[in-house]
């Protein structure tokens, strides 16, 4: 039998969200999923520590949430689709988090995208 092709040979600046990451990030992603409910978003804002504890976040995940740092959240197993729900609580959209991850201002990030236009 041929072994399955290696899926995760690295692409610069890119994490492939595979089984390993899904396992690592399960608690964090489950918490983020809960933010589909407005009541849960409010509860998180009222007492962030208690809310994170309820979902059994790891120390690494708790720190990443506290730091509002998307790259750390991804490292900790977060999936961008679920993390978007956490970012939404702080009024951040995908351009804000794009800017944060690339170390640019939001304006510079948007300008870079616009510059792709012919």
């Amino acid at each position: 039998m041929t072994p399955p092709k290696k899926r995760n040979s690295s692409i610069p600046g890119t994490i492939i969200f595979d089984g390993k990451m899904a396992l690592k990030g399960y608690a964090l992603n489950k918490m983020c999923l809960s933010f589909n409910s407005a009541a849960n978003r409010q509860e998180f804002l009222r007492d962030e520590d208690a809310y994170c504890q309820k979902f059994n976040l790891s120390d690494e995940q708790r720190r990443a949430v506290k730091n509002r740092n998307v790259l750390e959240l991804l490292e900790a197993g977060g999936n961008i689709y679920y993390l978007a729900k956490l970012a939404g609580i702080f009024g951040l959209d995908v351009q804000d988090i794009g800017a944060q991850q690339t170390g640019m201002t939001v304006e510079a990030f948007k300008a870079k995208l616009r510059s792709e236009k012919e």
């Binding site: 092709k5 040979s9 399960y26 589909n36 999936n79 978007a84 794009g98 792709e116």
Partner: protein
């Protein structure tokens, strides 16, 4: 017998939901994007479909990592949209057609696609926004719908080749349905974009253009890309091209292009739109 009237493939960027809700279609940022859809309205007015089979990816509204189907087919009398957590307005429910859904399910499983079936299924922006975009201004949805969800969240994802084959199987299933139904195929997502990592903001025009051309006359050519290669060439979310391949597969081998548009950027995304008809 049921008949496919054609297919539409379109991006589903969440920001479009805000533009629709706020009525920004004629603003300078949005006009070049939305004007491409005028051709879609005219075409839909002409072909008058009864039902839409919509191939999309769920982003954490109906499915989570606890149970993640590779392919899931809706079999519900109604499909509701709901709060996705980041504040785009919820759209009204879509009527389903369980009898037609079960015909598709029977045919797909018979064809060795071991899909998940859903008698309850929330549909997220990847389903609702394309529907709102192609029927802009209609007070109620003029069609019934069958959602077909493809996993693009958790790798391993189904290969491009498998997705094209799924589409072909859907096409055969529709053609064998006894009732006279006019069926529209919709594939959503893409084109190149990446939301996560230090490569966020990645766009690949050359690759997108090649895909938009190849998918019309030679979709098989796109199946040589592995999922990893698609991520590398189109971005982590640009891999949504696989939904376009399912939609293309449902159409006949030869198709004619009614309309196409490539416009960027909308938010972080290079957007694409294609309207294809089965060749007569």
């Amino acid at each position: 017998m049921a008949k496919i009237v054609g297919g539409i493939t379109t991006s589903h960027v969440p920001l479009i939901g805000k533009a629709l809700a706020l009525g920004l279609q004629d603003e300078p940022y949005w006009r070049p994007f939305f004007k491409g859809y005028d051709a879609v309205y005219r075409w839909l007015d002409r072909v008058q479909p009864d039902i839409a089979v919509v191939i999309y990816n769920d982003h954490g509204l109906n499915f989570f990592l606890d149970k993640m189907p590779t392919f899931a087919v809706g079999a519900a009398p109604e499909y509701c949209n709901a709060d996705e957590g980041w504040g785009i307005p919820t759209l009204p429910p879509f009527p389903g057609d369980p009898e037609f859904s079960w015909h598709l399910i029977e045919a797909l499983v018979d064809d060795e696609f071991d899909i998940t079936t859903c008698q309850e299924m929330l549909v997220d922006h990847a389903f609702t926004l394309p529907m709102a975009m192609i029927w802009a201004g209609k007070p109620v949805w003029p069609v019934k719908a069958v959602p077909i969800s493809v996993n693009t969240v958790q790798h391993p994802l189904p290969s491009a080749s498998r997705c094209l084959k799924l589409g072909r199987s859907i096409g055969r299933a529709i053609a064998s349905y006894e009732k006279d139904l006019k069926v529209l195929i919709v594939g959503t997502g893409g084109l190149s974009h990446q939301l996560d990592g230090t490569r966020a903001g990645f766009i690949n025009k050359k690759f997108d253009r090649m895909c938009m051309e190849k998918i019309v006359d030679d979709p098989e050519a796109l199946t040589r890309y592995s999922i990893r290669e698609l991520v590398e060439l189109a971005g982590t979310q640009g891999v949504e091209l696989i939904m376009w391949l399912v939609a293309r597969g449902a159409l006949t081998g030869k198709v004619s292009k009614v309309h196409s548009q490539y416009h960027l950027p909308i938010s972080n995304t290079a957007t694409g739109l294609l309207v294809l008809e089965n060749a007569v």
